[in-house]
């Protein structure tokens, strides 16, 4: 049975660091568990976050597409998905400009896309 005291200096330092790291991890995660158990998440807040995220996604896709950084197939597909998700959520009005964005890609209409970006951002 090897006692820790018999270990070289390096090992002891490493062990001490590991313990502090482990301690920090334990404390954080235990705290998380307690807090998480306490408040099980606001449903409406989640939906808002999701909607905001999809709206931001559409904006980013539109911008990147204008720069020529995204292939049409993929851009249309993501916008389609964004539109579906937005229509389901608390910001259904946002799905309309997104639908029009899809059309703009189909027609390669950059001006329309710029207009739609501004429109979506305003929402």
């Amino acid at each position: 049975m090897r006692l820790l005291g018999a270990q070289p200096m390096k090992a002891r330092i490493a062990f001490a660091l590991a313990c502090s790291f482990a301690g920090a991890v334990m404390r954080t995660l235990l705290a998380l568990v307690l807090v998480a158990l306490a408040g099980c998440g606001d449903q409406h807040e989640q939906e808002m976050k999701s909607a905001a995220s999809w709206s931001s996604t559409a904006l980013a896709v539109a911008r990147y597409w204008l720069q020529g950084d995204l292939p049409d197939t993929y851009a249309k597909r993501v916008l389609q998905k964004a539109s579906e998700e937005l229509a389901k959520g608390p910001l259904p009005d946002a799905s309309e400009p997104v639908n029009q964005m899809i059309e703009a890609i189909g027609k390669r209409d950059q001006q329309a896309m710029r207009r739609l970006i501004a429109e979506l951002q305003a929402q």
Partner: protein, 405 residues
């Protein structure tokens, strides 16, 4: 000289093979939602996996057994059957996630729905195992897997603030969404410490006939290989934090994750992401299928080995064939690939102790390890991390399910 080359190859294999659908999905979500603040989870998982992989190699070298073979021998058929069945089930879910990842990559590229790709992709994975050899599989995975280095390049291009980065390595409570944070932390750990990794490593050590002269090279391969691989995982978090979070984009679907390399690479960014996803998942799918077939064969004492032609090892070959077929069915069922991946990773964390603890017992059994038994330090590190991950997973999974209803 040969040893150095061997070490180098081992490290490269580990890098290329480290990233898989689990790492990509969890890291992308983590970076987009919480910035750098989950980097510590990757670090924690990596420390644990380095220990496990090194132990796995050392075990096979010294004892001459593979881990599965030895667990059955040490604990008896009855004692080992439950962990064994559980790990196979989890492997199946993860394999389905990996196949799903390849299918999603193809969907991103072509617009054709991912389910359509399930059978062709499964066939491709199977064909490579049927016709290939262990070296081809390993080396191919390693070489092509290097494409994932693009995430590292992207980090340098985007230039994160070092001090902010460093803060991510200290575990800290986020401002909100604690349940989701916990769930992601657990999933990241599960994605990093995948049991199939160290079980596969043990089989590989036996198949490559490692002798005692490999004990030190094994340490280097385990440490450096897993570390470099982990750096790529962390790079995904950082890139997501820099490219997606500021835009307010959260990663709820792979379509959103695909945007993350665009700021760094422009037009190439999208294709690099798709390629990385497809290749990383393909390599992982190969490894996972083999690992599962190895497990079954070693458990029942069948002849096994990738270098054997299917006709010489019919049971082994049938095992991975059936496995891949079942996984393909899961993908075909249309289950959301992102959700399947995240839950598989969390469940991996739950099951981890069932495999890791018996393994730890073996590592301390002098009859198998001789003078190379584990140090107290190794035991404590692995024990702590594995138990921690499992307890957290048990808490986090129900919370996440409740939260996403």
């Amino acid at each position: 000289m040969k040893k150095i080359l061997g070490i180098a190859l081992g490290i490269v294999t580990s890098i290329g093979g480290f990233l898989d659908v689990g790492s990509i999905a969890t890291s992308a979500q983590a970076g987009a939602a919480f910035g750098y603040s989950l980097l510590w989870a990757v670090l924690l998982g990596t420390i644990c996996v380095i220990f496990l992989v090194e132990m796995s190699g050392r075990f096979s070298i010294v004892s001459g057994h593979t881990i599965v073979d030895a667990i059955r021998k040490r604990f008896g058929f009855a004692g080992f059957i439950v962990p064994f069945a559980a790990s196979l089930l989890v492997n199946l879910l993860v394999l389905a996630s990996e196949l799903g990842g390849i299918c999603v990559a193809l969907q991103l590229l072509t617009g054709i729905r991912f389910q359509v790709w399930a059978i062709p992709v499964a066939l491709a994975v199977w064909l490579l195992l049927w016709l290939g050899t262990f070296d081809v599989v390993e080396d191919g995975t390693a070489l092509f897997g290097l494409v994932t280095l693009c995430f590292l390049v992207a980090v340098f291009t985007l230039g994160p603030e070092p001090r902010e980065l460093a803060a991510g390595f200290v575990p800290r409570l986020p401002g909100e969404e604690h349940a989701h944070y916990l769930f992601l932390a657990v999933s990241i750990i599960g994605a990093t410490i995948a049991p199939y990794l160290f079980l596969f490593y043990s089989s590989g050590a036996i198949e490559d006939k490692w002798d005692k002269s490999y004990i030190t090279p094994n340490r280097y391969i385990a440490t450096l290989g897993m570390s470099f691989g982990a750096i790529i995982s962390m790079a995904v978090i950082v890139v997501a934090a820099l490219a997606l979070k500021p835009e307010g984009i959260r990663v709820e679907e792979y379509e959103q994750a695909a945007l993350m390399l665009v700021p760094a690479f422009g037009r190439w960014g999208f294709y690099l992401f798709v390629a990385s996803l497809a290749i990383a998942c393909f390599g992982a799918a190969l490894e996972l299928s083999l690992a599962s077939a190895y497990s079954v064969s070693q458990a029942f004492g069948w002849n096994w080995g990738e270098d054997l032609e299917p006709r010489s090892a019919a049971r082994f070959s049938s095992a991975y064939t059936i496995f891949i077929a079942l996984a393909a069915l899961i993908v075909l069922s249309g289950l959301n690939p992102m959700k399947l991946t995240l839950f598989s990773m969390a469940i991996t964390a739950v099951i981890l102790p069932l495999t890791a603890l018996p393994f730890l017992v073996l590592m301390n059994d002098a009859r198998y390890m001789g003078e190379h038994v584990n140090s107290h330090f190794s035991n404590i590190v692995v024990l702590l991390i594995v138990l921690l991950a499992a307890i957290l997973a048990v808490v986090a999974i129900p919370l996440e399910i409740i939260g996403s209803k």
